[in-house]
Amino acid sequence: MTSTSTRDLVSQPYKYGFVTEIETDKIAKGLSEDVVRLISEKKAEPDFLLQFRLKAFRHWLTLEEPDWAALGYPPIDYQDIVYYAAPKQQEKKASLDEVDPKLLETFDKLGIPLSEQKRLSNVAVDAVFDSVSIATTYKEKLAEHGVVFCSFSEAVKEHPDLIERYLGTVVASNDNYFAALNSAVFSDGSFVFIPKGVECPMELSTYFRINSGDTGQFERTLIVAEEGASVSYLEGCTAPMFDTNQLHAAVVELVALDDASIKYSTVQNWYAGDENGVGGIYNFVTKRGQCRGARSRISWTQVETGSAITWKYPSCVLQGADSVGEFYSVALTNNRQQADTGTKMVHVGPRTRSTIVSKGISAGHSSNSYRGLVQIGPGASGARNYSQCDSMLIGDQAGANTYPYIRSQQPDSAVEHEASTCRISEDQLFYLQSRGIGFEEAVSMMVSGFCRDVFNQLPMEFAAEADKLLALKLEGSVG
């Protein structure tokens, strides 16, 4: 290889690894029915929600932690986790000016300015710090259009009917181990409601920040798009560097009624642990969208670069006739990271269509698995699926696994799956270099070329960001 081996370069440090010194209201470690009641009480929740939590908790007690994903991690001690932590500021402030400046500063540092002057134009942000939402921008402007965008806790207070109608209807509280856990102890998250016929006038975005070292993050996101409504939503995630692991077990539910469209994008950059695999987030997330209405559309786009372990399968249940599900994913693992991610496309209704594009990049000693299921039910006549799963291996210590399951019970349907494995070859690098393109840039061009189909799906503001993030994460791994 040439003398510039990026292996020799020092890996770019994780730049979001700082801790904000702020007084927090934490409950004691451990999980019991009392803790579940305490969380509900702290949030002054209506009874239906407490019952929802208790039912989930009691079910969770009967479940065994899944071990089937191709992941290896020491057992999690669920009694050693704090299930509720909130920065001490009594009530959610009416105005941002009243928010603790330390918090505003934190989000400034993360590149998510919340204050009126510096805000991203045309992107409304809900900022979640540990267990609670601290601020939501552009709320009034959205309200003019009838769009509800607020923290989950606020929604419980102000729109309890909507919460009661939709919560747990896509991901049941007993869906799986982590979903049950989340349903029992979730603390906050975002709620989006787009009424009939409204096209949401701006991008919505939630920024999740884990700050405490011993806190689990269990947020819950619910997005409902009524008939003919449409919305594009983006979430971003970071956490400080701790040498212990933190558990993040979120649940996201999307509901799209007739002709509605929801585009959900994730740029996940939780702390991934150091190069020896010490520390980092365990990211065990259940995300599912239900295309309940005819001609509805749900599109997941994810750029997964962080977390020590990622276990997530954003899925679409395509119930409505002619509904469309999409999954575009870039998962990058480096060092000792493990990712087991993919999607489920469950075709129920007639003429439903789905597209899966997954790009896995494995470097270092990491392991990156695509696990997917395309299921064509007996009622899904005329259903179509196209899947493409490509893996790029960087170095000979990383693993790339592909498990693309297909189940079809409907002859009048077509399922097509293609996959390939490639690496950045020396000859390709040399070719680019021999045209004057530097080594690092050549690698980054090829990686972003590999991921282009997915990046094209991201909202404009974030596509370039994702590109940069990948280049950053890969530094030092090619050589």
Partner: protein, 262 residues
């Protein structure tokens, strides 16, 4: 065009190189001055392509002795991209396919890297499009190629034309064209050759690596070199190429045997 007083662009002296510890180049000497066109001929395995790869800095080839000076400076210590930026261009025998990387973006990044080195200002996306469209004419290429991935799904002829297009954009000082004629039909060969001729100037030089006379019918060389066993065995004018076409390369073995090489 031979001008003894022209600038010495490339000075290769007793160059030795090996690949996977197998010595391939065993003492190549070659001087190239501005305005000159050199043809390097020889059989498969004689070291022609290795010479081109070494000059461009391919990481798989290790220089074990000798020197290469480019405009007076040591070329061998430079990274491949630095050589390209300074004006050394290799036209690949087998241009590499790079899925996902758009040809247009690739050409823009590399052109700007070269321009920056020359102290010219960068071309933005729009200016570059105009510039590249102009240059496409040199090789009679369809602009549709710009939107595809680098060399992916290109025919053999299209790949070679893409190489000459890059040459047209990078405006190199020394161009090494490695078997640019291989796999081309006569029409494609003419287009490629005419591209090379249009890009030649008194300030630049070219080294054509080829098996066949037919490229040299289109591009007239000032010097013809015959390589064998990793060095230049014989040098002559354009008539040497014609002679080789007549007599072939069997004499090479005899000469090598006489020198005790084989």
């Amino acid at each position: 065009m031979i001008r003894p007083d022209a600038e010495l662009l490339l000075d290769i002296s007793d160059l030795h190189a090996s690949v996977e510890d197998q010595p391939i180049l065993k003492g190549v000497n070659l001087q190239v001055r501005a305005g000159e066109i050199h043809a390097v001929m020889g059989r498969n395995g004689s070291g022609k392509s290795t010479l081109s790869k070494v000059l461009a800095g391919h990481p798989a080839y290790r220089v074990t002795g000798g020197s290469v000076r480019y405009r007076g400076d040591d070329l061998l210590t430079l990274e491949p991209e630095q050589r390209a930026r300074l004006g050394v261009f290799l036209g690949f025998q087998y241009p590499v396919e790079i899925p996902g990387v758009s040809n247009l973006e690739f050409l823009r990044v590399s052109t700007n890297a070269r321009r920056e080195t020359q102290g010219q200002e960068e071309l933005d996306t729009f200016d570059f499009e105009d510039h590249v469209r102009e240059r496409l004419k040199v090789v009679q290429m369809d602009p549709a190629f710009l939107d595809r991935s680098v060399n992916q799904g290109f025919s053999g002829g299209e790949k070679k034309r893409n190489e000459i297009l890059q040459m047209a954009l990078l405006e190199p000082v020394v161009s090494i064209l490695d078997e640019t004629d291989s796999g081309l039909d006569i029409d494609a060969l003419r287009i490629v050759a005419s591209g090379v001729n249009q890009l030649s100037s008194p300030e630049t030089a070219s080294i054509l690596i080829t098996h066949y006379q037919r490229l040299l019918d289109e591009i007239t060389p000032d010097y013809v070199h015959v390589m064998a066993a990793g060095r230049i065995l014989r040098t002559g004018g354009r008539e040497l190429a014609l002679e080789l076409e007549q007599i072939g390369y069997d004499w090479v073995d005899e000469q090598l045997a006489a020198e005790g090489v084989v």
